[in-house]
Every structure is written in C-alpha cells, then in structure tokens.
C-alpha cells in the first residue's frame, strides 16, 4: 500500500482502540530494500524521537535527561504498521494505549503528583 508519509502519518495524533490519545507519530521506521521503494515497518512515539528530528544535540540532551530522571522519561513506543487500522488526519491503532511507554510519564505524574493535590 502506498502511503503519503507526511500527509497521512508523520506528526498525526495516534488514537488507541478506545479512541484515547496515545501521542503523535514522532518518527517512522523504514526498511530499505534494494531495487524497491522503502517500506514503513513501524512508527515511533516519544520525546527522544522528535528530538532526533530537531537536531542531534537536542537528541543527546533528551537522552541524558531521561537517564538522569528515568521516572520522568517516557520510553520510545514503537507500533508496528500491522497494528495500524487507519491513517489520515488521525492514526488509529489496534492496541491499548495505556500500557505503552508513551503514557509512562502521564501515569507517574497521576500517581505521584496530581492525585496528591486536593480536588484533582
């Protein structure tokens, strides 16, 4: 299937099977094939991924920040294109977004910070 990478995938919001936001498509994993068009095998979500797109220096900074405060760092979430239902204005995937590393920081903040503030 031919896919317009920028128009239909990159930077689009990712919704899980319950239509919850998981993140945005921050990067793609390409398989380079001799004599054929490259194939998108997966996409990735995570601060480190988009930092890599901005500049190598920002990417290194993002990695070292994650190493210093692992609790505050989301890991990189990689979702196979086989799990993608639909691309376009949004990208729908066949998985539970709550269990992905993309939501780790959200869960940590809920448990350790926000829930402790009255009225949350």
């Amino acid at each position: 299937m031919e896919l317009r990478l920028v128009h239909e995938l990159l930077d689009k919001p990712v919704l899980d099977e319950a239509r919850r936001y998981v993140g945005r498509v921050d990067g793609v994993v390409l398989e380079l094939r001799r004599g054929a068009q490259p194939r998108i095998t997966a996409f990735e979500i995570g601060g480190r991924v988009w930092a890599r797109r901005l500049s190598p220096r920002i990417a290194r900074w993002a990695v070292s920040l994650g190493e210093r405060w692992p609790a505050l760092a989301n890991g990189v979430t990689r979702i196979s294109m086989q799990d993608v239902r639909r691309t376009g204005i949004t990208v729908s995937v066949k998985c539970d977004g709550r269990t992905t590393p993309a939501m780790r920081w959200e869960h940590w903040l809920r448990r350790n910070v926000i829930s402790r503030i009255p009225g949350a």
């Binding site: 919001p13 993140g23 945005r24 797109r53 959200e106 903040l109 926000i114 009225g119 949350a120």
Partner: protein, 405 residues
C-alpha cells in the same frame, strides 16, 4: 432558540473578555499622547483579530483540529517548535503582565503592594482552572468582564466630537514624537491580535464540540463579538484623549491610569476602573494559562481538556499549574507591570508572523477544511495581515529602542 442563545452568549462573552492589561494600557497611552489619532490602529487590530478568530474557528469546526494541532500536523515538528517556543515565551510574559494587572488593581484598592498580591492572584487563577470547566473559565470571567462597558458609558458622557473620532479611524502622520507614535501603533496591534486569543478560541470550539453546523455561529461571534470588543478598546482611548490629553497627563506609571474615570464618574469611576482592570486581567490570566497548556498538549499529542478532571489529563494540568505559578513568582520579584505590559505587547506583535502566515496554508488545505477553505476575500485579507505582521516584526526592535522608553 438554543442556537440564538448560544450566539448571544458567545457575543456577550467576546465583549466581556476583550479587554485585558495590554489593550487597556496601550489605548490609555495612545489617547493620552495622540488624542484620537491612534483609533485606526485599534480598528486595524480588531479587524485582524476578527479575521483570525473566524478562520481558526472555521478550521476547528470543520476539521476538529485546533490551530496548535494543525500547525504540528501540517508543517511537522521542525516548524512547530518555532510557534511553540515563541508562543510560550510571549504568552508567559503576557501572563505575568496580566497577573501584574490584577495585583495592581488590588494594590490600588487596598494599599498592599502588588508583590504581595501576585502569588495569591496566581493561586486564585490556578484554582479556577483546577476546579472549573471550560464554560466557567470562559463565560464566567467574560460575563463579569462586562463591567468594562463602563468605558463606553464614560466616553458617551464626555460627548466627544464624533467627526474627530471618525477622522481618527483613518491613518494620519503624527505631528510630533514619531517614534512613540509608531511604537504605540505596533503595541496596540500586538494587544489586539494576541495569538493566544485565537489559539484559545479554536481550542474552545473543540472543547464545546462545535461542528460544521456551527459555522454561522462562529462567524457571527467573530464579527459581532470582536467588533463590540474593539468599540470597548476605542472607548478607553477616547476617554484617555478627553481626560488625560488636555491635562497633559502621560501614563508613565500604571497607577496613573486609575485617574481615567474619576473626572467623569466621580469616586464610582475609580472603583469601576479597578474592577474593570482586575476582572479583565484575571479573565485573561486564566485564558492565557489555558492557551499555553493547550498549545503544549496539542503539539506533543497529550490528552487535553479543561472539561476533564485534572487527574485525567495530568501533563496538561501540570503544565498550566507550573506556568501560572511561575508567572506569579516573576511578579513577586518587583518587575514593573507597565514596562512588562508594554514590552510583552511589542513582543506579541513581533511574534505574529509565525502563526499568521501559516494560517494561509492551513485555510487552503483541502484535507483540513475541504469545501470550507478560504475564498479569494479570506486569502487577500489574510495575505494583507501577513504582510502587516512581517512589517511589524521588522520594525519591532528599532521601535522598542526608539519609542519604548
């Protein structure tokens, strides 16, 4: 009937939420030095804002995407970081100046220094966001903001020469102090067309679940709400022109603005000025803080909604918590709120191209807005606004140096 009620409420909240620290102070300064001569800058800023509000609302109604979403999705992260970073810096300074505006109103009411008020004001703003819903934040503060209609009452009581007022709507060359004149023109445009306003508006359209059926409501809210709001700003300038200019009062301290209404309305005028300043700035405080959290959350793909409980969107609620408290801390450090307001309005004006120019692309993208994309008039108007925004950007630094003191 429901739609008519919603439309009326939308227009009323646009009027009540129009004025804030920047629009009040730049209009007062403009009227005090140049009489009605700067009314055209308010008119230009209002038309520009009307255009951007209508188009960002249309984008959100048709595509379900906010301006923040669309900027990231259409242009990618490498471009998106520019409006993200400039938007956050500029909005943070405007937020601090709004907290300064509320604190100053409280200082003038109680005699207790604004530095003592800054953190309680930031906390009150945070509490509103923490406990409130989008409707309460937007409509509640804006309905209270209707007190700012006092400026129209005062302007009418002063019986301005309507011929001269109308003449002020056409740009004229200043007879004196040219640098100051153009500095105020740019500041007034910055105060009128703050990017946070249309970012906030498009997020509100999504929060309220508007769709294609609401396009006429969106247009009416943008045109009527912003027009009446512009009249409010113009009324502030007219009152300043009739009260301050003949007395030779140039506003060099925020407190001087408190003298604006007493000559017209007596002691009640002073109280109403403080109420207007306090409420208008408090409403803007809540809206700017939300707009910043919206921009970050939408750009980075986090869950966001002011209508959800804070623990349901923790990164979003933590972002607004940190922003508003930090801005409160800045105002406890003794920053001059007038200088900060003037500087942040100039910076707002200079930041316009990074959001205005891309709107031209977004509003012509068939994938986003389909048949509701801009016609020739929308494109010509937005193109002209983009050119003005670029001219403003290029002139902002020299004007800040020459006319900002």
């Amino acid at each position: 009937m429901k739609r008519l009620l919603e439309l009326s409420l939308g227009i009323v909240t646009s009027i009540g939420g129009f004025l804030e620290a920047g629009s009040i102070i730049t209009a007062v300064q403009g009227g005090a030095v140049f009489g009605y001569q700067l009314l055209w800058a308010i008119a230009l800023g209002t038309v520009g804002l009307m255009l951007l509000v209508e188009q960002s609302g249309r984008l959100a109604c048709v595509s379900g995407r906010t301006v923040g979403d669309a900027l990231r999705e259409r242009f990618g992260i490498n471009f998106f970081v520019i409006p993200l970073v400039t938007g956050l810096i500029v909005s943070f300074l405007v937020l601090a100046s709004e907290i300064g505006g509320v604190s100053l109103a409280l200082q003038m009411a109680t005699g207790i220094s604004l530095q003592w008020w800054a953190l309680p004001v930031a906390f009150a703003g945070w509490f509103l966001l923490w406990k409130g819903t989008f409707g309460i934040v937007e409509k509640g503060t804006s309905l209270l903001g209707l007190v700012t209609i006092v400026f129209i009452v005062a302007a009418l009581k002063l019986h301005p020469d309507w011929g001269e007022v109308t003449a002020g709507l056409l740009p004229t060359r200043p007879s004196h102090d040219r640098a100051r004149y153009w500095y105020l023109v740019v500041s007034i445009i910055g105060a009128s067309i703050s990017p946070y306003l249309y970012m906030f508006y498009s997020s509100g359209v999504v929060e309220d679940g508007w769709g294609v059926d609401d396009l006429s409501t969106n247009k009416a809210t943008a045109v009527l709400g912003m027009s009446f709001g512009g009249v409010l700003s113009a009324a502030v300038l007219v009152v300043a022109a009739l009260v301050f200019l003949p007395r030779g009062i140039q506003v060099e301290r925020y407190e001087q603005a408190g003298l604006l209404l007493p000559p017209v309305l007596g002691h009640a005028g002073f109280v109403l000025f403080l109420a207007s300043l306090g409420i208008a700035c408090f409403g803007a405080t809540a809206e700017i803080t939300l707009a910043m959290a919206y921009l970050v959350a939408q750009g980075l793909g986090w869950d966001w909604s002011e209508n959800a409980k804070p623990k349901e969107n923790t990164r979003f609620s933590l972002t607004y918590t940190v922003m508003i408290l930090l801005a409160g801390v800045v105002m406890t450090l003794g920053v001059d709120p007038l200088k900060l307001t003037n500087f942040s309005m100039m910076l707002t004006a200079a930041s316009l191209p990074v959001t205005v120019v891309p709107m031209l692309v977004l509003m012509n993208d068939e994938a986003l807005v389909g048949d509701h994309r801009n016609r020739w008039f929308g494109n010509v108007a937005l193109g002209a606004l983009s050119i003005i925004a670029i001219v403003v950007l290029l002139s902002a630094v020299p004007l800040q140096v020459m006319g900002g003191s």
